[in-house]
Symmetry: C2
Subunit: 246 residues, 2 copies
């Protein structure tokens, strides 16, 4: 009997029109767009109900006429942005074999993650199942259709690739956020951290970590290199998938 959240209400909103204006021209679309702009510019935590309302020149509580609450607004933001992924002409299937197709899928998801650093903060939990999310699932599955995988394997392979991309994109977003919040870029941060770390670790011995950590941080000039992790991991995963095909 807990009326916490009604999946039906959210779904209807997600698949609704978003453009029917109220008395003062307020639309769902305008609310969602304003929220996305705020999140793009300053991170998801900047997309508060108050600031979204200010941005479109309405009272804070007017938003609730068009959107049940913050959670549903988040879902709308996510599904809207997923619409950027495959715009009809860029169908990921039919561009060579499954390998090129999967690579394209990974690259598109990586791109959208870079463009909207808040995206992965807004997902998680149950999937959203808006129109663009379903379209995405369909488009991505098609690159794996008819090449000898079972339906379950198709889903598993796609999940694996997307999990990888989400992981490295989240890592990238985390670094950008850390830089914004600390005011220190990667090199400044390391210059501030390294001497303290060395002093505090004196006495302990970490031979392998010391050697490998030094090698990596010299090459990356950073505490991590998500772009490299993206490419390296994708190659390894695609090689591994190859063996499923036999």
């Amino acid at each position: 009997m807990s009326a916490k959240s009604d999946p039906g209400r959210s779904l209807a909103l997600l698949w609704g029109s978003h453009t029917r204006p109220g008395r003062s021209g307020l639309t769902v679309r305008a609310i969602v767009d304003a929220a996305i702009e705020l999140a793009d510019a300053e991170g998801l935590e900047a997309a508060t109900m108050r600031r979204v309302a200010d941005k479109i020149g309405s009272g804070t509580m007017s938003l609730y006429t068009h959107v049940p609450g913050k959670a549903e607004l988040n879902d709308l933001m996510v599904d809207t942005v997923l619409g950027e992924l495959y715009n009809g002409v860029d169908d990921p299937s039919g561009r060579g074999g499954w390998r090129e197709g999967l690579r394209y899928v990974a690259e598109r998801n990586w791109d959208v993650g870079l463009r909207h650093l808040w995206l992965l903060d807004a997902t998680g939990g149950r999937p959203t199942l808006g129109p663009n999310a379903v379209l995405k699932y369909e488009a991505e599955l098609r690159v794996l259709d008819g090449i000898g995988l079972t339906d379950l394997q198709m889903d598993s392979v796609l999940t694996l690739v997307l999990t990888h991309v989400e992981g490295v994109a989240r890592s990238h977003a985390g670094l950008v956020r850390a830089q914004r919040e600390s005011g220190l870029d990667e090199q400044e941060w390391w210059r501030a951290t390294a001497p303290v770390l060395e002093r505090v670790m004196a006495g302990h011995d970490f031979p392998v970590a010391g050697r490998v950590g030094e090698a990596s941080s010299q090459v990356y000039q950073a505490s991590a290199d998500p772009a490299h992790a993206f490419a390296f991991g994708l190659d390894v995963i695609l090689d591994g998938v190859q063996r499923l095909m036999k």
Copy 2:
């Protein structure tokens, strides 16, 4: 000149003793333990300064005598929990080849993610570099040492495996959280969602997504199966890593 956050201060705290009590017996250790208990039981958002203080019977602001702020408390929570991973006797290296070693690393990380569902919410951004994090890095790298990989490859392979585990663990944590917050388990959620989704998707056509989605949800009885994704992805990744060795 922005004095936002001082990496040195955090590091010193992380590597400090945590057990030196103040006038009323308050210690860093007690604060961190209380916060972890709250997060384990009710999620990271339950570990507020007020509730932590209540739990240990002190005033809210007394915590700030021992801990600079919420962010540093999070770091301490993370590093403390990472201490559970490898307790000396369970050294991941020296248990067969690299493949068994990597599998063990993945499983230990998966386990700790299940035990502390808030862990991945508390990480992200720059790495924490507390004693247990460094110990973890060293222990995990050792399973890849001396088997013909370059230092950079060692780091990349480990990152790949950990990114995978983090991704599926995050997915698992998301489902558990969704269940707690909505009061609906996976089957109830799907029973509430499916008919609405079908009605709203009428007219559109998603042949592959429909077929595959149905197959998966029948087998998993859920919107996703992180445990299966963990195992499937790990096998594929290990196969892919194999080709690096050659």
